[in-house]
């Protein structure tokens, strides 16, 4: 309870699902052999934290930012550039963290201060424009970022797959540097999510919700909404950069496609909406569903597409082609905003009731 900051899942099914997800993630190295399963599990951890940080903005303050991948990218690139430039040692890891996190927070602060001056309705558009400029910048400054190719790097000795920590003869499992890295990712993600849970359940988090409900009312009550929103933005940016660091460490690579592209932004949006906005727990569910689907559903679509083309059906092969999986996701997205605005978590908490979250009118 302490750990969850007094905000338990509040639904038996939800608790069960969360426990299963977390146990499965924790036990992945032992339960599901093979690199793919471990990759998927690590990605779920990273994205759960990233999406939770986005939920702080979208779900708790109601502001839509399209710059979240920018912060994620800053974290990824900071660690990648440091390890690439300074060699695979812990000093480089520390440098990446010490540079990446403040940079993300400062940029978030700058955006926040800037949007102070301008009409609130511009916020989403401004973040989109800034993020796209940043993306262009990152691909153009290739001496620093490696351009379109990105930066591959080596991890410090301890975290390499070749480093055997506990040999197979002891428990029947080999625990190597790769598995250690996985648990590092797992633990840091979990810590960040718990920290976010604490933030949203603090008095500060309740002010954020008051602002989301009615900004003018909150202002009238004497809250400095701008301060709160900017602070939330910085926090979210910090966690996003943290997730970016984990992502780069896991992949041993940072590049535009894995850490900056607009499609990651869309993925985040989808995950947060599917999981349930304004719940933090939704991030874990959304990330799990989405990434499992991304990794396993696509192959299913390939099979279906082939079957459809063999059956000579028109159009269907093209629509079911694995590359078109975003199409179905987009439709799912619209449908969930429309029919299912509280996401999985909202549904489970309301016992499948039809209470809509659109009470903002």
């Amino acid at each position: 309870m302490m750990l969850l900051s007094g905000d338990p899942p509040r639904s038996r099914v939800l608790t069960l699902v969360l426990v299963v997800i977390i146990l499965a993630l924790a036990a992945t190295p032992f339960l599901f052999p093979g690199a793919k399963a471990l990759n998927v599990a690590a990605k779920i951890c990273v994205f759960a934290a990233l999406v939770a940080s986005y939920d702080l903005l979208l779900g708790y303050t109601g502001s839509v930012s399209f710059a979240h991948t920018m912060f994620y990218g800053i974290g990824s690139y900071a660690i990648a550039i440091a390890l690439y430039g300074m060699g695979p040692n812990w000093a480089a890891v520390a440098t990446g963290i010490v540079v990446g996190l403040p940079l993300a927070a400062l940029l978030a602060l700058a955006i926040g201060l800037f949007s102070l001056r301008v009409a609130a309705i511009f916020f989403a558009m401004i973040t989109l424009a800034v993020a796209s400029a940043f993306q262009v910048l990152a691909s153009q400054l290739s001496w620093l970022t490696g351009g379109e190719d990105g930066r591959s790097f080596q991890l410090p000795e301890l975290l390499r797959p070749g480093t055997v920590l506990v040999s197979k003869s002891l428990f029947g499992f080999e625990i190597n540097g790769r598995i250690l890295t996985f648990y590092l990712v797992f633990a840091v993600s979990a810590l960040m999510i718990l920290a976010l849970l604490r933030v949203v359940n603090s008095p500060f988090g309740r002010v954020l919700q008051a602002i989301r409900e009615n900004r003018f009312r909150a202002e009238a009550l004497g809250f400095r909404t701008v301060f709160h929103l900017t602070y939330a933005n910085c926090l979210a940016a910090l966690v996003a950069a943290g997730a970016g660091i984990l992502n780069a460490l896991w992949l041993r690579y940072a590049g535009p496609d894995t850490s900056l592209s607009f499609s990651i932004m869309l993925d985040i949006l989808l995950m947060v909406v599917i999981g349930g906005m304004g719940t933090i727990y939704g991030a874990i569910i959304g990330a799990t569903i989405f990434i499992l689907a991304q990794n396993y559903l696509q192959s299913l679509m390939g099979v279906a597409s082939k079957a459809a083309s063999e059956a000579g059906l028109p159009l269907l092969p093209g629509l079911l082609h694995p590359d078109r999986w975003l199409l179905w996701l987009g439709l799912l997205f619209i449908a969930s905003v429309y029919f299912f605005p509280t996401g999985v978590v909202g549904r489970l908490r309301n016992g499948g009731g039809h209470k809509s979250a659109g009470a903002s009118h």
């Binding site: 409900e213 009615n214 009312r217 009470a359 903002s360 009118h361």
Partner: protein
């Protein structure tokens, strides 16, 4: 005397806030009904609810016997209701003329009606082709009222028209509203200026905390100073 407008048991929520908490009121045909009350009592919300700008969450609103509480704002307006909001809401990017062109939705403006309006508010003629945004506050108020009466309407909802006006203009405004009443319109008027209220009102309703706390004849309230003080606070006499 039939009631043109009747509200019974009207509740209005804005977001999660319960603002109107069961309003019963009637505006008798051809009379001026004053709606008084402290700041934040819910007067503006009442007018906006009648106009359909905030949806009533429960209760009944009838206009000439017809239920209107679930109708859209344009439908309500087309049934002969015009609204002068507290903020005046003139279209500042449009000229005075263009503001009135839009207000005359049934066709071209009637010249006689226009002359009649110019009689009360000569400034409108003078600034006919100026942007409404460049008018002074009082002139905007005149334009806002002119918009409401450029075509004959059954019911006028007017929110604090004298706010910020010079005494001379207030007098002209009072004359104008009396004249509108003589022409047969029904008026529901929110007013903080007790002098204006006394001059114009036939009936009076006093609101507090989203309910009606007093109803009666204006004359009775005007002559009962202790009642005024109890209902409206001490500030009102000072308002004159």
């Amino acid at each position: 005397m039939t009631d043109l407008l009747k509200l019974s048991g009207v509740h209005t929520h804005i977001g999660r806030y319960h603002i109107l908490q069961g309003i019963d009121l009637a505006a008798p045909q051809g009379q001026v009904t004053m709606l008084l009350g402290r700041n934040g009592a819910g007067k503006t919300t009442t007018l906006r609810t009648i106009m359909g700008l905030w949806p009533a969450s429960s209760g009944e609103i009838t206009l000439g016997g017809e239920r209107i509480e679930s109708r859209a704002t344009p439908d309500i307006a087309q049934r002969g209701v015009s609204y002068v909001p507290e903020s005046m809401a003139v279209f500042s990017d449009l000229t005075v003329k263009e503001n009135l062109v839009l207000a005359a939705r049934d066709g071209p403006m009637d010249d006689k009606q226009l002359e009649w309006i110019f009689g009360f508010f000569p400034a409108l003629r003078r600034f006919w082709l100026s942007r409404a945004g460049s008018l002074s506050g009082g002139q905007k108020q005149m334009l806002s009222i002119a918009r409401a009466i450029i075509e004959p309407r059954k019911l006028l909802l007017i929110d604090e028209p004298t706010k910020g006006l010079a005494p001379a203009i207030v007098m002209a405004l009072i004359e104008c509203l009396k004249e509108i009443k003589r022409k047969g319109a029904t008026i529901l008027l929110v007013e903080q200026n007790f002098f204006a209220a006394r001059e114009l009102g036939d009936n009076v309703l006093v609101m507090d905390n989203g309910t009606i706390v007093h109803r009666g004849e204006m004359a009775a309230l005007a002559s009962d100073v202790p009642l005024q003080e109890r209902l409206l606070g001490l500030s009102l006499e000072a308002h004159q």
